[in-house]
């Protein structure tokens, strides 16, 4: 690839960043943050307690205003606010590029938007964010959000990508939170493996299934050849309308299977449709992560 073409591609990719980031910021702006303090002394911004100075405390740590009121020296302690690590896996397989209408985005687009908005919220809350696998280890700070959006925007071509994605469970620190976003149309075995592995490491998280309304409604009829996005799988039917009921049964079965998997691993499952507002998915993830934080580890 010549440098010119590389540059052109890079600019094309770069052009995707601001909109995604801006939309994600916009979306994140709708959620008000609450700090989750640790109820114990530590590094943080909020006052926790004054304690008598001990040997080893530097002179700079002594709170002179408090100490002036008595003979002893006091150290001002702040509440310990520990940062969590939240790892994301956003499916970028070919099937995520599907959109049944011009009025709603592709599943991949929605998945990235929700992931980025969640990441921005978490970053504002002081959490560490990262991507599963080895691409983007967890870090704090605004720059991490930028880096993450860069990685997410690297959408592989539809032709070369696998038809259906499998979650990557590697590179997740123990006791981290995890967000998996996919349509989960592919084989369920990798999902099960990933969840089991995560559960073994004390990793909790949420599973967001993003579906297109067409996948939920199956509005097809007549003689049809259905093909997967990568055109590797096909199914021919003479009367598509007849398949609807059985298709919906299978879809419901898959959702139930995912939900059951999550229950087993202590995860939370939610199904989101691209014709609904992204905010609803964001709110659910945020709430689910909060719950995971409290119920999962019980810092309180």
């Amino acid at each position: 690839m010549t440098s010119a073409i590389l540059r052109q591609h890079a600019e094309g990719e770069a052009a995707k960043l601001p909109p995604l980031l801006a939309r994600a910021e916009h979306l994140a702006g709708t959620v008000l943050l609450g700090e989750h303090g640790r109820r114990r002394a530590g590094l943080g911004d909020d006052f926790w307690q004054y304690r008598p100075a001990q040997i080893g405390d530097g002179a700079r740590m002594i709170d002179w205003r408090r100490s002036a009121k008595s003979d002893a020296q006091f150290v001002r302690e702040r509440e310990w606010q520990i940062a969590q690590t939240v790892m994301f896996w956003v499916d970028n397989a070919a099937s995520m590029q599907f959109s049944s209408g011009k009025n709603h985005p592709t599943k991949g687009d929605r998945a990235q938007l929700v992931a980025m908005a969640t990441a921005i919220l978490l970053q504002r809350g002081g959490e560490r964010i990262g991507l599963t696998g080895s691409a983007l280890p967890p870090q704090r700070g605004e720059a991490q959000v930028l880096r993450m959006s860069e990685f997410l925007a690297q959408t592989p071509d539809t032709d070369s990508a696998a038809d259906f994605g499998a979650p990557v469970a590697s590179g997740i620190p123990a006791h981290a939170r995890t967000v998996f976003i996919s349509d989960f149309m592919g084989d369920l075995a990798p999902v099960q493996a990933a969840l089991t592995q995560s559960a073994d490491h004390g990793v909790r998280g949420v599973l967001l299934q993003v579906l297109d309304p067409a996948e939920e409604a199956f509005p097809f009829s007549g003689r049809t050849i259905f093909e997967s996005m990568g055109k590797t799988i096909r199914h021919e039917t003479l009367k598509a309308a007849d398949l609807k009921e059985r298709y919906l049964q299978r879809l419901a079965g898959r959702k139930a299977a995912l939900s059951a998997l999550c229950d087993l691993a202590g995860w939370q499952y939610h199904c989101h449709h691209t014709d609904k507002s992204a905010q609803s998915a964001l709110l659910w993830i945020y709430r689910a992560l909060d719950q995971a934080a409290f119920h999962g580890r019980g810092f309180a």
């Binding site: 601001p18 097809f220 093909e227 799988i233 096909r234 003479l238 007849d242 398949l243 898959r254």
Partner: protein
Amino acid sequence: MIGALGFTTPALLLALLALPVLWLILRAVPPSPARRLFPGVVLLLGLKDDDTVTDRTPWWLLLLRLLAVAAIIIGLAGPVLNPEKQTVGNGPLLIVMDASWASAQSWRARLQSLDAIIAQAGRDGRRVAAVRLSTPEQPVFQSAETLRARIAGMGPDPWAPSENTMREFSNLLGEETFETIWMSDALDRAGRAQLLAALEKHGAVRVIETTRAVLGLLPASFADGAVQLIAQRSRAGIAADIVVQAHGRDPAGTMRVLGVLPLQFDADATVASGALSLPSELRARVTRFEIKGAHSAGAVALSDDSLRRREVALIAGRDDREGLELLSPLYYLNRALAPSTDLLDGALMDILPANPDVIILADVAILADAEQSALLEWVDAGGLLVRFAGPRLAASPISRKEEHPLMPVRLRSGGRSVGGAMSWGAPKALAPFSETSPFFGLAIASDVTVSSQVVAQPDPTLAARVIAQLSDGTPLVTRKTIGAGQVVLFHVTANAEWSSLPLSGLFVEMLARLAVSSSTATPDAADLAGTTWQPIRVLSGFGALEDGSTLPGVKGEDLLKSPLGPTLRPGVYAGESRTLARNINLAGEAFAATNWPSHISVEGITRASQTPLTGILLALAMVLLAADVIASLALSGKFRLAPAIIVLLALLAPEKPAMAQTLDDEAAVNATAELVLAHVLTGNQALDDTANAGLLGLSEVLFFRTSVEPANPIGVNLETDDIGYYPLLYWPITPEQPRPSQEAYAKLNQYLRSGGMILFDTRDAGIARFGGSSPNGRALQSLAAPLDIPRLEPVPEDHVLTRAFYLLQDFPGRYARGALWVEAAPPDAEKIEGMPFRNLNDGVTPVVIGGNDWASAWAVDARGNNLFPVGRGFGGERQREMAYRFGVNLVMYVLSGNYKSDQVHVPALLERLGQ
């Protein structure tokens, strides 16, 4: 031939036999499948179809296709509805046409029918002759093509065949046998039966005639102050409405419809009559009455002098004797002329433009120069001036030495008086009228005497000018012609002072002879005997007027009653002193419909025309095939209803205006669906971009901090956009921006009055104070001069703007020093004891003016980065924050008005409620 349906190539219909084969072939080919990308395909794997019936083309689709193919086959076979019957005759064919005015109503159809008959005869190889009964001639059988070329120019004659012409024609028939087609005009007349019998001797006779009634209009007469019009028709049966129009020239000389009279035929009546009331001015102009849309000479009634009433202007030299009516010079003239003329009253110069027929000057001696020349001109153009003598004329010096142009003779001074107490002679009687006099033939009333008169000076021309004299030879009435008109002088008064002439019946007759009064009665044949009348305008068969001056004259005795013919055409004829109209329909002659013997076959003119169905069937096939395309697409799932409907609507929908309308509506909906901050486009690109970015930044801040959630800001063009949608306009000032137009200022004032707010920003607080000290300040002063802006003051400490959302005391933008001006508080606003704020006016200030360049302080790019530095370090960021707070306060103030001001009263109100 199947009923009314025939085929040009019936053999092609055999192809219909192949349809069942087609059915079998088509049935075996199923529609192609649709391909769809669908990630959910994994869930479908392994699912089997319940049945495989749709594998084959569905029967209705097959039927559709077969119908299309059948339509094509039948269409190509050339189906024809109502094919023309091919009646083959032989031998010569004689076509007898009435060709009268009564045929004119359907002449076109007659010609087409005739043409078809001749053409058919030509195809059959028959010889044809065509004869018009109106102008009979020996039938000459010739080839059809020769005849066809001739008939195109034929028109109906404005008369009807008479018994004579029909008898004449039956003598011309000869011995040959032929078939006859008689194109009748549907009016019965004497001689028809005899001619029919004569024709039947030579062969079969067919009759073609219309079933429409023939319409005719009888000559108009004048009675009871209105024109009486009578229309008649040949057949009764159904009620019918017709409209009679009166045609004539308007004062500009253009032919117009001067009056309209609707008439109604009752169902069983053949006559309809009505009266058309027209002002005499208009009535005199009417040249003909016509039944609208009939286009036949019979439906035209020409009018002649019988409808005209002459207009006579009476002018007296002395009108100072009010009350003495019997002594008025005009009294007897009035009495004599009123029954038969229209009298005009008024000053001479007012009357002359109306161009009366006659002007009577009773004892008028001196005329002003203008009056005299105008009168002379009028007489020269054909007017009749009648003068009466009297004391004034006798005393005046006119026409003594020189003959006055408007006097027929010279007068001797003084006049004479006979038969009075002091005179020797007895009053003189009238002498009998000479043969050259227009009064010749009138009986002399013996009791008419003349006691005084003006006397004519003996001149060489006098003898020729005298038309009435007294028994002693003194001229009593003299006349001379001037151009086309004439001047007549009665040497006595028009009242009974000088003579008893005005008291006698002779006076009226003399006036009539002078054509002062119009004779309304139509002369009878005896009156007309020996006279010759020249046609002026004659009617064509279609009722159009043609020039008749090239036609020979007509004898008077023939004019009124003789049957019309080539030598006597309907039209207007001119005699010596009047015109007479000869119309086609004479009063008392009713129309009679033809009554043919039962063995004669009578056909209508129009027949059901043959209709080729090929085009319709092929079009049907195309429609069916199009439906097949849609059905096939639908069957294979490729057809989407919505796009198809959109395409259809796009094809059907009217073009641009609707689009523009929707665009306008769209803009309006965009501007109002959500709150939008707007800035005025100044034409300076950098400035507009900054303003937009500034409002974007402010919108973001509002979105995050308050419940105001604006959409992206919009730049508005004051000239073209509707600014009423925006609560706040930010207007950065630059010296080079164009002045808005008057319309835009009107819009802005309307905006300010109806609750809008404009934030003017001179952006120069860093270098100038408020006012006209900077270019931007001067630009603002000039721009805002036409605006309806109230008195201003710097923002007082207790202004609502200082506490609408944040508590503020200064309003920095990029510059911090500039003052902010708002509408001044009313002078009576007083601070109430115990209240923190004055009770200010309820109105929101329509303008906020400052120079702190707020947009630059607010401006952010798409990523949220600030575009311009503000101040330095933390202090600068603080200033930017304050700028944002000012923006928030301003928008809150715009949106919620003085709500915050009212809030301070809440405790007091609650306290009162508690009590």
